[in-house]
Each structure stands twice: as structure tokens, then as C-alpha cells.
Symmetry: C2
Subunit: 105 residues, 2 copies
Amino acid sequence: MKRIALAETATFRDQGPKMLLVHESPYFKIINFNFRAGQVLPVHSHEIEGQLSILVLEGEGEFLAGDGKTLSARPGDMLISDIAEPHGVRAATDMRVVVTIAPPI
Amino acid sequence: MKRIALAETATFRDQGPKMLLVHESPYFKIINFNFRAGQVLPVHSHEIEGQLSILVLEGEGEFLAGDGKTLSARPGDMLISDIAEPHGVRAATDMRVVVTIAPPI
């Protein structure tokens, strides 16, 4: 059992999204991504079994899907996607999200 | 792929924590618990493989562990626990959390 204080991991990179590994186990992988306004996690997918959730902690932007489709992303919004489906994130403001991937990849 | 707006699920029960199933799949189960101040998710555990995360969205309280141990729980705090370890939540104020269980139980 452990507690992580995500309020203390609000660090950013000018070159691209900051990625912090929160937890990894045989069951799931949890990552905190922090975006400066305008930064993007490009649409990608992996041809493996599993799903992921992306929860917006702070800031606003868009969840990205295939074919240029987008869904608005505000605090408390959660995207759930197959790992094999195209997914990504674009930040309109500084933005923080938590991604949970099960099983871990 | 789907998006859930947790800002829209802030409903409560006077009798005890409100539990809303956000998502269930073979990979993980995601539940939103909303507590009125003073409400408790009692310490419990299940003798099965897997882990869970509990992320505080709003409000304050405590994560509960075995032997009466507690850890403070504020927005952005995440507890990670084996499903087989004793875990629970006590709300000091109205409090909202998201629980992710992998694999689902």
C-alpha cells in the first residue's frame, strides 16, 4: 500500500509532455502526464489486448481519436479506450491527466 | 471509446456512500464513490490477486488501512493497494473518489 500525492508532481517540460510513472505492477500501469498549453500526446494505438482510462485532473483540452475526431476534455472527464483504438490528448491550457493501462504495456 | 463526465455524477446519499459504476470490462472496473461528510467505506479486503487505486477528486478525508492506520486523503492523492490488503475511506468533508480495480472483481 502506498499513497502518491499528484499535487506534488505538477512539473512540466517545454519540449513536450512531461511523463511521470506513478505505479507499475502486473495488474496496471499508472502514468501522470503534464502538458503545457499547446502540447500534444499524438494519436497512437497498440495491437494488443487491454484498455486504458485517461482522467483530466486540471486544465482543458481535447481527447483525440482516429480520423481527426475529438472529444472535449475538462477536469473530471474520463476517456476509456481499447489500447488498440487510436487515442491521444491535446492541451489547450496547461493540463494534467492520469492514465491507467490494464494490463500494463 | 467513450467519455464519462464525472463532474456530472456528483450525487450523494444520506444513508451511506453513493456508488456509481463508471466502467466494467475484462481489464478493469472503475467506480465513482461520493461521500457525505462523515460517511465511511469500511476497511475490507478480498483474498484474490490484483490491485486497486483510489484517487481523490474533491474533498478531504482519510484512506483507511489495517490496524487502524490512516493516511490523509486530499484532492490528487492516490492510494494504491493490493485487493488482498485491508483498505477503506473516511470522508471528513463531502468527498468524491474514483476507484480502479484490475482485474475487475
